[in-house]
């Protein structure tokens, strides 16, 4: 069943994120995708997130489709104007991609092309509206399309530190949902209780909520997130658990797997973020019992 | 026989950790039983079941395979494969009648000279208590008490 159908049927979806290469060597991406075929529902291909120039998500998504794995690609407004965005979205549909996630594009301060000019021709909500409009057969200029795409669109909720910040995020999500988004991806879940509270609030969104599951690769990573991103809520206990583990890297896998198992009955799916350790995805799913 | 019994013990030591630990025991002048004879291998995972069985067949009273600590193997998981293999051979030794307790897997880091020495002492004592291997060739058993 396709990702779209599973969402509609309220079945649990398992997504995994895989980055396109910085360069043209796609062997790792293809190998990783093939390995996961059949075990996940779709692969999420980010575009040039973090401002790191890479092969575009559109091509990455097409590659995934070619491997027989459904693709969901990121779209955002930083690097392309409305012409390029619409053109790429139509292209995506024609090449078999049926799902998009409108993401918030990060600023360029950590980019590897700091001098690049950000575009921001459209806002995120604007982009969602454009996609809806394309689905209905009209482009932004109001011109009729010769054949309309049909795209499922999702959006993301950013990391939030407190309730107030969460409300802002939920408001933003609500707008995007009103504009046509049919699922949301949450920030990484490290604290289950907090996630449950979040889900209670997120119920009102009325669309499937898919939490991000982040693979913690090392103690240093856990500490880094805990320190630099208070919104992530990595507890001391979690850090202690990793520190005490005789095998710190597999401990991260275990944590990710357990988190997936724990959110199974709360959320409508998971999006697993392994950031370069895609070869660990099968182990995570094994732990999760998927 | 038992009182004078000096066991012969073969220790297969991986180059990166256990053998280095043995050298460390040397430079720290840690005394241990001379009964232990070391055979150097690149990785404890290189120790074939046949090597272990042959050691017993030739007359060893005890054998141990010494590798790196968990997660420290220079070759990723050679030490864990060695552990599993040792368990398998232990079962076979029970079948043969030699007894699984004459074979052990130990793990240590390169810096643990003291542990190397301690294990050599402990293993020697353990085997001394167990007595000679039941399969020391008959010719050997007939000869005078074997000092090491």
């Amino acid at each position: 069943m396709s990702f779209q159908k599973r969402l509609l049927a309220h079945e649990f979806v398992v997504l995994a994120e895989m980055h396109t290469p910085k360069g043209v060597n796609i062997s790792r991406l293809v190998t990783d995708a093939r390995r996961m075929k059949g075990r996940i529902d779709a692969i999420v291909v980010p575009d040039m997130d973090n401002g790191i120039m890479r092969m575009s998500a559109l091509a990455g998504g097409v590659l995934m489709q070619q491997q027989g794995v459904e693709a969901i690609i990121h779209v955002y407004c930083r690097d392309r104007n409305r012409m390029a965005l619409q053109g790429d979205i139509l292209a995506a549909h024609v090449l078999g991609i049926q799902n998009l996630i409108v993401v918030h594009s990060e600023d360029m301060s950590q980019s590897d092309h700091i001098e690049a000019k950000p575009v921001y021709d459209l806002t995120e909500v604007g982009l969602v509206e454009v996609i809806q409009s394309l689905n209905k057969g009209k482009d932004m200029g109001g011109f009729d399309l010769d054949g309309a795409p049909s795209l499922t669109t999702g959006c993301t909720i950013a990391s939030y530190e407190d309730d107030r910040a969460l409300d802002v995020e939920l408001d933003a999500a609500r707008k995007k949902i009103a504009a046509g988004c049919s699922f949301v991806i949450t920030p990484p879940v490290f604290d289950l209780d907090r996630f449950i509270t979040f889900m209670e609030k997120a119920k009102g969104l009325g669309v499937p909520v898919i939490p991000t599951i982040f693979l913690i690769k090392s103690l240093a990573i856990a500490q880094y997130i805990a320190n630099s991103e208070p919104g992530a809520h990595i507890s001391d206990e979690l850090i202690r658990r990793i520190r005490k583990s005789p095998n710190r890297d597999t401990e991260g896998i275990r944590i990710a797997g357990e988190t997936i198992a724990a959110v199974k009955n709360i959320a409508q799916g998971v999006m697993i973020q392994t950031l370069g350790w895609e070869h660990r995805l099968p182990s995570i799913l094994d732990v999760a019992g998927l | 026989m038992m009182e004078n019994f000096e066991p012969v013990i073969v220790a297969f030591c991986c180059h990166y950790c256990a053998y280095t630990a043995a050298d460390m025991a040397g430079s720290q002048r840690l005394e241990y039983s001379p009964n232990v004879k070391i055979i150097r291998v690149p990785c404890s995972g290189k120790v074939d079941a046949i090597h272990i069985i042959k050691a017993f067949e030739k007359g060893a009273d005890g054998v141990y395979v010494a590798g790196c600590l968990d997660g420290d193997c220079h070759f990723k998981n050679g030490n864990n494969r060695a552990s599993r293999r040792v368990e398998y051979v232990q079962k076979y030794l029970d079948e043969i009648g030699i007894g699984s307790e004459r074979l052990e897997m130990v793990k240590m880091s390169a810096g643990m000279g003291y542990l190397f020495a301690q294990i050599a002492i402990d293993m020697t004592e353990k085997i001394r208590k167990l007595g000679p291997s039941p399969v020391r060739p008959l010719a050997m058993q007939a000869s005078q008490p074997i000092a090491c």
Partner: protein, 1014 residues
């Protein structure tokens, strides 16, 4: 004298001149040579080696020095890039950096080095005119300077020779040349490293120590000679006065150091405490309760890495007695056998007397007059003690550009620091030089084809001085080995790794037509490569040698069971002979090297290393965990000598960022790592969004620093008045007004250090306390400062600041672990109560500021993570553990990895810079090569046996084997890591790991049990 002008070729300036052939000079020369740069090494002595060749053993491993040094020495003998000039002194230096002209003068040796075989005939017949003694020992030694001397030759003192013609005749090689007139000549070079070493303080002038009158009062170096197997007594510890073994030996510290005696230096000689402890431990190890050892000291200065543990070992394990006291005198009554030491201790004013059989004076180091002269001749600025003055943050750079110093020339220090500085000097001196590539295999003879030859095994057994020979009878082992099958030759070989022995082995291979070689000696881990090279030079494939580790695995660990050790040694020899019979000629595999460098950590150390390597044209990645460069040094404002740290750090950051060859990756967390030296791949998570990035590089340098310790003690973090020395340093810089307002300041040393939980000394805190004390006094000379200490460890020139602080009235009070100072908050102040050992009563000071000397600790979390990812060992307290604590202080045991700065152990900025430069030098050794040798230990598949079962394909941790088009498993030797997992799992026994073939392992087993059946 013959004048020779410019003996260099066209590229005359593309060379480094290294002056001094001691340990430091040798290291510098070797580093440069291995990085393919040309070196001229000059020494005024007739053999290189310097002071270290006279030591018996070195701390803290208590290894025999000769064993550790001699491989280095003979290395230097063989290097094509090194031109060695002995008996040569420097007469003058002209020109500037990059373009020096140096005039040299070589004294006549009267022996032709090309002909001399060091057979010793000349010395036997004319001992009076043949030089062989170190000259330092006022008692007659009876052997050559040391057995592994380079060059391997004698030297003649013509003036003492009565019958020159007779001397010429006794020489079988015809090497005596009385017409030798020496020569004067000039050479050109681009830079100069001065490593002239130090002399020892002469205690003759100190009457009350009785050195010049009492034969049983010796210096520490003389004691070393007595203990040395190659020394005058062949290693027998006896009293010079009567030849009997002493029962009580005392050491007196600080003779000639710390400004204590007439003519003594004002500085601390840094190494004598460890030397005395080592001598006492070695004595105890050899004689246990037969000899009692006592050390009289002022402050135990065991500030080096893990040195405090050594001190604990001396006290607790070996029972070395330590008395804090300066003995008043050493006297002997006429009818009394022993020497009477008079001394007082802190707890009593009463004079104590105690008799000893021998007294060892721990004499300090000083700069010899001729060296001082030379330095001045070279135009260097010297400090009052004659040491070369260098930049605070560039420790090996002298006042004259292009001239560098290392080792004792810079300041008194121990061997590891000398080694680090020597490498640093190599880095700095070589940085403007071009590499000069030479064919390394050029002079190798062709390899003999031994495949069809019958086995002819040669067995050579080292006595390694006392190390092996002291426990077992080497001759007996040799005789025994002769009886083994296929053994043609079996003989003892002294120090097998010495040049002389190597040559003999090579000769034996050729003369006896040997085709397999067994060495009975030390660990193949350290010496296999050396013997492989040796037999290769004798025309054999280098893999036809097997080493039986009869030292580390027999004599060292069964020293008290000589009979059993002998029997075990025989077993090991038999196993090796059996195994070598199964060895086959193998070919090495190699791969091109990736010359990029990954530096982990962007502090002063990381940046310095990166800059030095980037300057050499290597691409460097700096992976820094935080979001900016600078590290710990950003928090430090001044150094003990008053230099400003900030501008230095800012300048470093600026240079680093601007360098075209450096890429700085901040907020980088290393998460995975794979590969091998020359082709590593490291994965990291970068930036706030943590994208994953991999970097391919050839070497990895760890400069991850350390953490400022903040133990929850003495109200730290609770009372405003309490802070660390680091925080005080900041206050001094930012809020001088606050500092001025302080009336009473108390400093407590060793907070969180030298305690059971963290047994090591943090090294930097004593100088930090002195620095802050002096600064506070500068702002307000009225402030009363109490420093509560356990031992003041102001080593080297820091001692002068310590003396200054005392002079200024800073009060130093010793405390012990049994009587820790008590601290209580009183309003904004704190009350500090401590016991004055001299007054013997408690004193309470109400302090406006309590400065805690908390030192540095390893970043446990991060070093554990990195150690796991990179598979590196750490010390008990979490610092990275170097490959050899003495001789390879910045190399890590995993090839291709280096460590520098406080990730190695606590140290000052200056010391970190030294290590950073040293690492840059060491890394170049690897980077200079174009290919990495993967060795021959690779798995090989016999396709006729292969069942294509895929077990190897699945077992390989590196995914190397595959089933080829012919349907058999294939293993690419260039990718094989040589673990042998495939070989051990192959059910068809179709895979063999070269060098560790089943036949070879089973041969060992068979041989081990051979004796029992027979």
């Amino acid at each position: 004298m013959v004048e020779i002008q410019n003996m260099n070729g066209v590229q005359g300036h593309n060379k480094v001149l290294v002056i001094g052939g001691g340990l430091g000079g040798i290291r510098t020369a070797l580093d440069l040579a291995e990085a393919e740069k040309d070196v001229i090494l000059v020494d005024k002595a007739y053999a290189i080696g310097g002071l270290m060749t006279q030591l018996d053993r070195t701390f803290p491993t208590n290894n025999c020095d000769l064993c550790t040094l001699s491989p280095n020495l003979s290395e230097s003998g063989r290097k094509q890039h090194i031109e060695l000039l002995t008996m040569t002194s420097v007469k003058g230096v002209r020109g500037d950096k990059g373009n020096f002209t140096v005039s040299l003068e070589t004294a006549p040796r009267y022996i032709n080095l090309d002909k001399c075989t060091a057979c010793g005939e000349c010395h036997k017949h004319f001992p009076e005119c043949v030089r062989f003694t170190p000259g330092l020992d006022h008692r007659a030694p009876t052997c050559m300077r040391y057995p592994q001397a380079i060059p391997q030759s004698f030297s003649v003192d013509l003036e003492k020779c009565s019958d020159i013609n007779a001397l010429i005749k006794v020489c079988p090689a015809g090497a005596i040349s009385p017409d030798d007139i020496g020569r004067k000549f000039e050479i050109q070079c681009g830079s100069i490293v001065l490593s002239a070493g130090a002399a020892l303080f002469d205690p003759s002038g100190l009457d009350y120590l009785g050195y010049s009158v009492e034969p049983d009062v010796v210096t520490n170096l003389e004691y070393e000679r007595i203990m040395s197997a190659s020394g005058p007594t062949m290693g027998q510890l006896v009293r010079p006065s009567n030849g009997k073994q002493p029962k009580k030996v005392a050491w007196i510290q600080c003779v000639g150091s710390r400004g204590l005696q007439k003519g003594a230096a004002s500085y601390c000689s840094s190494a004598c405490c460890m030397i005395a402890l080592k001598e006492a431990i070695v004595t105890k190890e050899r004689f246990q309760d037969d000899i009692e050892t006592t050390i009289f000291y002022m402050d135990m200065r065991t500030f080096g890495k893990d040195y405090e543990l050594y001190l604990e070992r001396a006290k607790n394990k070996h029972g070395v007695r330590l008395i804090r006291s300066r003995p008043h005198s050493i006297l002997r009554d006429d009818n009394q056998d022993g020497l009477r030491l008079s001394y007082t201790t802190d707890d009593t004013s009463e004079m104590k007397n105690e008799d000893f059989d021998m007294v060892v004076l721990s004499t300090g180091f000083k700069i010899a007059d001729d060296v001082r002269e030379l330095s001045l001749k070279m135009g260097l600025t010297l400090n009052p003690s004659g040491f070369a003055v260098t930049e605070e943050f560039s420790p090996v750079e002298t006042s004259r550009p292009g001239i560098y110093v290392c080792g004792m020339m810079e300041s008194p220090k121990d061997i590891p620091e000398t080694m680090a500085q020597a490498s640093a000097a190599a880095c700095m001196a070589g940085k403007d030089l071009k590499v000069s590539l030479k064919d390394p295999d050029g002079d190798l003879p062709p390899e003999r084809d031994v495949t069809d030859e019958a086995l002819r095994i040669g067995v050579f057994i080292c006595d390694c001085g006392e190390n092996i020979g002291g426990v077992l009878d080497v001759l007996e082992i040799a005789e025994y080995s002769k009886s083994l099958p296929n053994v043609v030759v079996a003989e003892p070989q002294g120090h097998g790794c010495s040049r002389q022995s190597i040559e003999q082995i090579q000769k034996s291979i050729v003369e006896n037509g040997l085709n397999r070689v067994v060495i009975g000696g030390c660990s193949p881990r350290t010496h296999e490569a050396k013997f492989q090279e040796a037999i290769r030079k004798a025309g054999l494939n280098k893999y036809l040698v097997e080493i039986a580790n009869i030292r580390d695995q027999a004599t060292w660990v069964h020293a008290h069971l000589p009979e059993k050790a002998t029997r075990k040694a025989k077993d090991l020899m038999r196993m090796a002979v059996g195994a070598v019979a199964e060895s086959h000629p193998l070919k090495d595999h190699s791969l091109p090297i990736n010359k990029d460098v990954l530096v982990v950590g962007g502090g002063v150390t990381g940046m310095t290393t990166a800059l030095r390597l980037a300057d050499q044209g290597f691409k460097v990645y700096i992976a820094e965990k935080t979001n900016s460069l600078g590290g710990m040094a950003k928090n430090i404002h001044t150094t003990l000598s008053g230099s400003e740290v900030r501008p230095f750090v800012d300048n470093l950051i600026e240079q680093t960022k601007a360098h075209a060859n450096i890429q700085v990756i901040t907020r980088a967390i290393i998460v995975d790592h794979s590969g091998m030296p020359g082709m590593f791949k490291t994965g990291m998570q970068v930036g706030p969004q943590m994208f994953y990035r991999t970097i391919q590089h050839g070497v990895t340098i760890l400069a991850t620093g350390a953490l400022a310790n903040r133990p929850k003690q003495y109200l730290l973090g609770e009372s405003e008045a309490v802070g660390t020395q680091l925080e005080t340093d900041t206050l001094l810089a930012d809020n001088p007004e606050t500092v001025k307002s302080w009336d009473n300041v108390v400093m407590i040393q060793c907070v969180g250090s030298r305690i059971p939980e963290n047994p090591n000394c943090s090294r930097i805190c004593c100088q930090a306390a002195i620095k802050n004390a002096l600064q506070i006094r500068k702002l307000n000379p009225e402030t009363r400062i109490f420093v509560l200490y356990r031992d003041m460890r102001t080593y080297g020139f820091q001692e002068e600041y310590y003396l200054e602080a005392r002079k200024q009235g800073v009060i130093f009070v010793r405390y012990s672990l049994d009587h820790l100072p008590q601290v209580q908050a009183v309003g904004k102040q704190v009350e500090v109560t401590f016991t004055d050992p001299i007054l013997g009563r408690a004193i309470t000071v109400t302090a406006d500021r309590l400065c805690l000397s908390t030192g540095l600790i390893a970043d446990e979390d991060s070093t554990e993570d990195l150690a796991r990812i990179f598979k590196l060992p750490r010390t008990q307290d979490g610092f990275f553990l170097e490959d050899h604590v003495k001789l390879r202080p910045v190399d890590l045991p995993v090839p291709g990895f280096y460590v520098a700065g406080t990730a190695h152990s606590p140290k000052t900025i200056r010391e970190s810079v030294t290590q950073a430069q040293a690492v840059a030098s060491r890394a170049q050794l690897l980077l200079a090569r174009d290919a990495i040798n993967l060795g021959a230990a690779v798995a090989r598949v016999d396709s006729t046996k292969c069942a294509a079962c895929l077990i190897c394909v699945r077992a390989c941790p590196f995914d190397v084997p595959f089933i080829n088009a012919d349907g058999y498993s294939e293993i690419d030797p260039a990718k094989c890591h040589g673990c042998g997992l495939c070989a051990s799992e192959c059910p068809a026994k179709a895979i063999q790991l070269m060098q560790f073939e089943d036949d070879r392992i089973v041969a060992k087993l068979e041989q081990l049990f051979e004796r029992m059946v027979a």
